[in-house]
């Protein structure tokens, strides 16, 4: 999985490069450019039917298809992992329709398409991060009318967003929103950072890489250009806090990273492991071992 896969030249010639026709890609690129020009603003676009159901990343792959070129190297992650169903299926989709190289190494990739997570490794100015977004409208659950939410964005009427946070504190004693935590982009637009855990919110602030968000069913694209201010909303007496874990990764021993819970048996035993599988593997190759992990070099010797 960790090898850079050379797939140049085996793409399926029955499809146009990256599946979409050139006119569609131009239309999507125009929406992306507008999104970059107005950070956080949801740009409507004519999302196409893609050969997969809504909710599987139809928005994300249209954005990726519009920006990908022959010399790009693609990394596809789902919940931080390179080898879950969604990631494998979408990676194969682009291998077949573009023939670009793919990788699981964050630093080798020029385009990273993600569902949920931002990689643990700091992204650089030469990279593009594409998010798959299910519900782009942060105000949706309190204001069901699209005409009204657009007006609220236009007039910067964002009091309602704090009503949601108020409800959290009133019900749970703290802001219990753990993912899709609303952010203010460049002091202007309130934006829903897709279903990304709030752990990753601080990484969006002043990120060097370009961040693009695509919602296929809702037909919206928005963007955060490099070095843009992204602030998580909060109250003065209940400031924003990132998720804290009380133990390190069980396999690689990493701390200060986002962990997934893995149930081990029917007796309630569980382990917490890095959600970013590439980050975890790299640490193990570098010799880090968690309390439930084994040294990969010793494991190879056992085979």
């Amino acid at each position: 999985m960790t090898e850079r896969v050379e797939t140049q030249g085996i793409s399926d010639e029955h499809y146009n490069f990256a599946y979409l026709d050139e006119q569609t890609k131009r239309m999507i690129r125009r929406a992306i450019l507008k999104g970059i020009a107005v950070p956080g603003y949801q740009v409507p676009f004519a999302a196409r039917e893609m050969p997969m159901p809504y909710g599987w990343g139809t928005g994300g792959i249209q954005v990726t298809a519009a920006v990908i070129g022959k010399h790009d190297c693609l990394k596809m992650i789902d919940q931080g992992s390179d080898d879950t169903t969604n990631a494998v299926a979408l990676r194969n989709f682009f291998v077949e329709t573009t023939g670009v190289d793919t990788t699981t190494k964050t630093k080798d990739a020029s385009i990273i398409q993600t569902r949920h997570r931002i990689p643990e490794e700091t992204l650089t100015k030469d990279q593009v991060l594409v998010y798959q977004v299910p519900i782009p409208e942060p105000l949706r659950f309190l204001e069901p009318r699209e005409t009204e939410t657009r007006k609220m964005h236009a007039l910067e009427e964002y009091g309602l967003m704090h009503v949601k946070l108020y409800e959290d504190i009133a019900k749970f004693g703290h802001i219990a929103t753990a993912y899709a935590y609303p952010v203010m982009v460049q002091d202007r637009y309130v934006m829903d950072p897709s279903p990304t855990p709030k752990f990753d919110n601080p990484k969006m602030d002043q990120m060097e890489a370009l961040q693009l968000f695509g919602a296929g069913r809702e037909k919206r694209i928005y963007a955060i250009p490099p070095h843009t201010k992204v602030v998580s909303l909060d109250f003065e007496d209940h400031p924003f806090e990132v998720t804290k874990f009380d133990q390190p990764c069980a396999i690689c021993g990493a701390e200060e990273v986002y962990l997934d819970e893995v149930i081990l048996d029917d007796d309630g035993n569980r382990m917490f492991v890095c959600s970013d599988s590439d980050f975890c593997e790299e640490r193990r190759e570098a010799g880090h071992v968690g309390h439930l992990g084994t040294n990969p070099l010793e494991a190879e010797g056992n085979d």
């Binding site: 007039l155 309602l160 409800e167 504190i169 009133a170 007496d237």
Partner: protein, 265 residues
Amino acid sequence: MSLDIQSSEDFPLLQVSNTTKLYGGRIGCKDVSFDLYPGEVLAIVGESGSGKTTLLNCLATRLTPTSGSVNYRNRMGQMRNLYEMSEAERRMLMRTDWGFVHQHPADGLRMTVSAGANVGERLMAVGARHYGNIRDTATDWLGRVEIAEDRIDDDPRAFSGGMRQRLQIARNLVTAPRLVFMDEPTGGLDVSVQARLLDLLRGLVADLGLSVIIVTHDLAVARLLSHRILVMRHGHVIESGLTDQVLDDPQESYTQLLVSSILQP
């Protein structure tokens, strides 16, 4: 001429001139003119379909009148035509200087968030970002409209009709508005609850020095709350004047009919 802030009570808060709303060929309300002064309570009465609510909606910028103008004196003492303001300014007025109490509380409340958040929404809309302060203010206002403090985290769905109406009033008054529009605030409530609500409203209006425009078909409500009264029929104002004067000595035959049709228990 320079404007003295101290004497701003001598100037009308709202000036309505020849406001007309036509629904195609039908008349909603026609050529309505009046001035409303600070601290004054004006009742608009009339039978169903007489154009009371149309007029109220025209004044509260919820409907655009076909012709005529509505001018409002803002806190800086400037008279502004509501329909020449930008939408942003109008919406700002709606959530700071004005309140709107709907007949059905479900129209004016957010039914899916708690009572505290309902009261706090306007505060957050004007920039309050301290949870503790917002909650204290909400608690205070719930107390003023006689809702028990321990109901602050309950949804309005769990409230009775009278409580919902009181919550709606608290939600509107929390930003200390200068002008409140009320559309049949006591409709659908039983008489004892109605009496308590009216008592509460009368107290709040007097304490806060509010100006109120209240639409009602219930002359008893008009008599209890209002200083002045407009009687409407078929979209026209047919009689206006001081409330007790109009109700005790109606001049128009329709007003006489209206007054005489009150049931005496």
